[in-house]
Amino acid sequence: MIPELGHFALACAVALAFAQGVVGIFGPSLRDARALYATPLLALSHFTAIGLAFLALVWSGVVSDFTVENIADFSSSAVPLLYRITGVWGNHDGSILLWCLILSLCGAAVAVAGGGLPASLRARVLGVLGLVSGGFLLFTLTVSNPFTRIWPPPLEGAGINPILQDPGLAFHPPVLYTGYVGFSVAFAFAIAALIEGRIDAAWGRWVRPWALISWCFLTGGIALGSWWSYYTLGWGGYWFWDPVENAALLPWLTGTALLHCAIVVEKRESLKAWTVLLAIATFSLSLSGTFLVRSGILNSVHSFAAAPDQGLFILALLGLTIGGSLLLFAIRAPVLAATGIYAPISRESALVLNNVFLCAIAAVVFTGTLYPPFANLLFGIQLSVGAPFFNQTVLPLTAPIILAMGVGPMLPWKRADLLPALHRLWLAGAAALLVFAVLTASRHVIAALGLAGGAWVVISALIDLFRRRFSTLSRSALGAALGHIGFGVTVLGIAGMTLAVQKVVVLQPGQSTTLGGYTWTLQDIHDAPGPNYTQRVADIVLSEDGAPFLTLHPSRRFFAAQKVITNDAAIHTNGFQDIYAVFADEPATGGAELRLNRHPMAPEIWFGGLIMALGGFVSLSDRRLRVGAPARRRKPEGAVA
């Protein structure tokens, strides 16, 4: 019964979404006030309908209703409650429903928080969101329905993929999807502005908080995903340049560019068409990223099995959304004229530079990701593009961004002088040079460059904060500085990881080995119970100069239902270094095969991501950035409810 209600709610959501789309887009040009006021209500009811459908699916998962194919295939009654809930979005159909839920949530947020927007702009924004949502809901309902029943129902479900049974997975997809889908609002604002043919400073002010909030979530989602792969996949890597990871990185790059150039639109009414294009590109990349990886075109370690038939439906949707918006852009954008003028050395130019390099990185990552399937198609050659390509191309492009990041916030608008700005940054420069000199002495050039760059970014952002004096500091300036500091910290972490040491050894209980200045002793191997698995645990004692200071318990987990073994890494962190041990195998000769790692600065990679996202939220709390805040200026005092 409940799954049928969910199915019915989903069908209602499709109708409501299309109604929201049509009324929102065509209503304003009919100058019908009813249409303007109906759209927010439609957006709210559309969100309610998807919410009910989603709850119905979660309920089916919680009570283990195995007549629902989706639950029977990806859950079982032995799975702990948390994962019966999160497992709902751990598979293809359920994750698309989650995606649609977040998209409708964005629409509801605009409907509720967008009271200060002109009614026609709000209706058009909601209309665009409604059409996009309607298309994807139709896809869910027709070819990817999570409520499909099976008869006869199995007695027990197939169980969740053991690697997904992890708290990291519980939060990674919702956070990441919020980031992806949140950019739909910036996209909808861009399309609405193109329809209206007008972009001004107010538009920049309205778009920025939405772009900022999705950027925070996307940053957090990527950091969570990277952290999850670091501790679950058990070989100490945190970024693999896998197509699915690149699919998340691409909108992050263009989204970061969008954040920065929306400031220019807001303050200087310049770069308008470019900002609109970035808003379209960011959401288009989010869409393509979410869906093309599921079509099976891109070769990825993330297995989302989906048939090419679904792929064609999705491609048609993507074609309509992306092609339609770019067509509108080609027709309407040439009339958007820039009004602000600025000198080659100025805040604006620094932001343009940031955009050029971010987009260059995005172009390189895009090319590297899509080259293998296209080369196969055009020339019939099969190849794979891996980490060496990306490392060699992306790192040199990051260097100028790192340099400019320190200087940019110091420059005033319109026209600036480089020398005073550089003069203020002497401390950061000196620190960076010092770090570089110390590390090149120990012959780690890449690590030296990275650590020097990270130090430069962090210190120059701190100098910027002190220069502005905390008392007069606006929250958005504080947020921006935090964002830059977070990026610098991540750079420090990535650079530090190049100094990691690793060793694979087979030890018998009682034997020990040395790595990274520590003595690692395998003390014992024993069995331990688990909820839906059994595990073998290795006890490893670390000692330095003969004094034991730490015991690690990496384990191998046997999931009987799926006949899968996972390695649960043991990680000990002190904030500046991870000690990381994996119990890889029990060889026939006895003992344990262990992978031991010492990762300097590794925690900083995710810590930096957290600071970046935090910076975004701080900036978002700035009163001037709040949605609807512009209304207070346009209306006379006291008119605001």
Partner: protein, 185 residues
């Protein structure tokens, strides 16, 4: 910038998106028609001779070495398989049909148990003229075999011309193997 050039410039993103969409469309259609495999991996052996090896026979049959493959009288197949592999079982009737049609097929049993293998051949027929055993799996690593079954086409000069990972089906034979046989005989 002239208005026309401005318009053309602003049309570039659309043109790129259309081209990309078109390419994806073609790829998806070809995936549906089964003649595009995004997961295919090239074999390092294509255009080369197999690396040197010498494997003993198994199940009472004669083994072979890379020198035996140096100049076969006519194009032939080397089929990697194992009695424990389900796709190999599905592939057996196809191999039997090819062998009955006069094609030379030599087999290499990958990490297999002699008794289980003998039983497998008894149940599913034996299409192989020679059968070697790679008990340690070392030769498979040198060949770049990534799973069984895997089939290599060797021409009259002993050069590997084609590698197929997966079970041979009517479709695969019609699409790839028959053209190769026509070309290299």
């Amino acid at each position: 910038m002239s208005p026309l050039r401005r318009r053309l410039l602003f049309g570039i993103p659309l043109a790129l998106a259309v081209a990309g969409g078109e390419a994806f469309y073609v790829i998806l259609r070809r995936m549906q028609a089964n003649n595009y495999d995004p997961h295919a991996l090239p074999s390092p052996l294509l255009g080369k001779r197999p690396p040197s090896f010498s494997l003993p026979g198994i199940a009472g049959m004669q083994g072979f070495a890379n020198t035996d493959l140096a100049a076969p009288p006519k194009p032939m197949l080397v089929n990697w398989f194992a009695s424990w592999c389900v796709p190999c079982l599905q592939e057996a009737p196809m191999l039997a049909k090819l062998a009955a049609g006069g094609l030379t097929i030599w087999g290499i049993a990958y990490e297999d148990d002699p008794q289980a293998l003998a039983q497998f051949l008894q149940q599913n027929g034996n299409p192989y003229q020679r059968l070697a055993a790679d008990a340690s799996g070392t030769t498979a690593i040198n060949w770049g075999v990534y799973g069984v079954p895997e089939t290599y086409f060797i021409d009259k000069t002993g050069i590997v011309r084609w590698r197929y990972a997966g079970a041979l089906t009517d479709d695969v034979v019609a699409r790839y193997l028959n053209p190769l046989l026509a070309k290299y005989s």
